[in-house]
């Protein structure tokens, strides 16, 4: 069973969002379940710094030995940081998807959007439905 932390929000397309303690920064990555489905990650394409993303926009691509998969922005905002370490060490997405394997951070433009995302329980159900 994959690890689905209770404090994060999710998209059914396997992105996670963490609202940081400042209340306006959100960190985004892909879930443990996603990295397990993909297998070894070999490239990650991230959004440009200062890009303005709307919820649902294509924000990047993750490529594994098995497949290429689009990354969608779970919420709207301006990109304020990208995880440059993933260029040299994409395997961190497999080994530590929720911490060192983060993809990018946005300054949230509408905090209300967080309420539209899946909580851990709903995401767990979405994964279970995927498996059948």
């Amino acid at each position: 069973m994959s690890n689905i932390p209770g404090e994060l929000k999710y998209l059914s397309s396997h992105e996670w969002v963490r609202l940081e303690s400042d209340g306006v920064t959100a960190t985004i990555g892909i879930t443990d379940h996603a990295q397990d489905l993909l297998g070894d990650v070999v490239f990650v394409e991230l959004p440009e710094l200062e890009a303005e993303l709307a919820a649902g926009d294509e924000a990047g691509v993750v490529e594994s030995v098995k497949a290429a998969s689009d990354i969608f922005a779970p919420i709207s905002g301006v990109v304020i940081a990208i995880n440059e370490d993933l260029e040299e060490s994409p395997e961190v997405v497999n080994s530590d998807p929720y911490d060192d394997g983060w993809f990018f951070k946005v300054k949230i433009s509408d905090a209300e959007e967080l309420n539209t995302l899946l909580d851990a329980e709903a995401y767990t159900e979405a994964c279970a439905a995927d498996d059948h």
Partner: protein, 359 residues
């Protein structure tokens, strides 16, 4: 639920991710496909390939039968145990399967793919009607491939009594030891052995190899290893829609005047009228991954298709096999994620014995 090899429990205990492969539940990887790939290039890994189909061809006409059945010529096998890679073709000259045939002390042993087992056996039986041969499948034999620069020394460590027999093997030769057979063959581009072992001894052999430091590797790594080695995968790189001449397998077709074989007439006609396409290697050093079925565009010549593609762990970028127009030069374009990307056309293999070899 698919068929399971005798090693299924051993795979699960080792944490394997199991997938369906030609109707068999087989390990895709045991954690990281790339680590397993690198272990085979640098030391030694082992693959359960017991799903492969082993068939003995016996009887007075076995030589004549195989000379008719196969595009390559078993008369090239001068020494006991020597192995030959060949296509098995239909009358249209197209590839029914690729296989390895060993010259046994009396007769022959053939190893064919698992996904094509029923089709192959039906074809072999049908073609055998006018020959005095027996086609005997050997499902009681398991098969473990141990591959990598340290593979042979580790197998000798696991099986010390067989050291002399293993040392006596030349490349592409297999010799029996009772029911067992040690073959210096493989599908990775590294030195190593494929060992045919009676099913009831397979688990203990696997455990001895583990104890000797050989790492279990899944079919994921097997696929990237064979792709780097430029070895075709049946069903991806060639099938019943193409001939060996279109599949980088011309070297496996023995055209001699005095031998007829199934598909020969069609192949000679194709040579005469011009082979329309060829199987080449593609190399893309920028980010991104070439994948099967992506479209290939050759300016002024036409289109083609990637037949298998992946990230190459040894090289650090992507390589592929692709079927392209016969007149294709040294570069082409691949359509990838709505972009057209220039790639280099090379002659496979890409990697042998751990090192880049293409030009």
């Amino acid at each position: 639920m698919g068929n399971k090899t005798i090693l299924h429990d051993a795979h699960q205990n080792a944490g394997a991710k199991i997938v369906d492969f030609g109707g068999w539940d087989m390990p895709l990887h045991y954690g990281s496909q790339i680590e397993e790939h690198n272990i085979v290039r640098s030391s030694s890994g082992m693959f359960d390939v017991s799903h492969m189909t082993i068939v003995d061809v016996q009887g007075a006409d076995s030589r004549d039968y195989l000379r008719f059945l196969l595009a390559n010529d078993v008369d090239k096998l001068a020494v006991t145990g020597k192995a030959l890679y060949s296509g098995m073709l239909n009358e249209a000259g197209c590839v029914l399967d690729d296989l390895i045939v060993y010259k046994m002390p009396k007769d022959y042993r053939v190893v064919v793919n698992c996904a094509t087992r029923e089709k192959d056996l039906a074809w072999m039986h049908k073609q055998a009607e006018s020959f005095a041969v027996e086609i005997i499948e050997r499902p009681s034999l398991s098969m473990i491939a141990v591959q990598g620069p340290e593979a042979i020394s580790r197998v000798k460590q696991a099986m010390p009594a067989q050291g002399a027999l293993i040392d006596s093997l030349s490349v592409f030769q297999g010799l029996e030891d009772g029911e067992w057979m040690y073959c210096r063959t493989g599908y990775t581009g590294e030195d190593g052995l494929e060992v045919l072992v009676p099913q009831d001894e397979a688990v203990s052999f696997w455990e001895k190899l583990l104890a000797a430091g050989v790492k279990p590797c899944g079919l994921g790594a097997r696929d990237t290893l064979r792709l780097e080695a430029g070895m075709n995968l049946y069903g991806a790189d060639m099938d019943e829609s193409v001939t060996p001449l279109q599949s980088n397998m011309a070297w496996t077709v023995a055209f001699s005047d005095d031998r007829d074989f199934i598909g020969k007439t069609a192949l000679l006609e194709q040579k005469e009228s011009g082979v329309p396409s060829k199987l080449v290697g593609l190399v893309m050093t920028e980010r991104g991954i070439l994948r099967g079925h992506q479209a290939v565009i050759v300016e002024g010549e036409g289109e083609g298709e990637i037949t298998s593609g992946s990230f190459s762990p040894t090289l650090g970028y992507s390589v592929a096999l692709a079927r392209v127009p016969a007149s294709t030069g040294d570069h082409c374009y691949v359509e990838m994620r709505k972009k057209k990307i220039a790639v280099q056309v090379v002659k496979p293999p890409f990697v042998r014995n751990g090192k880049r070899v293409y030009k």
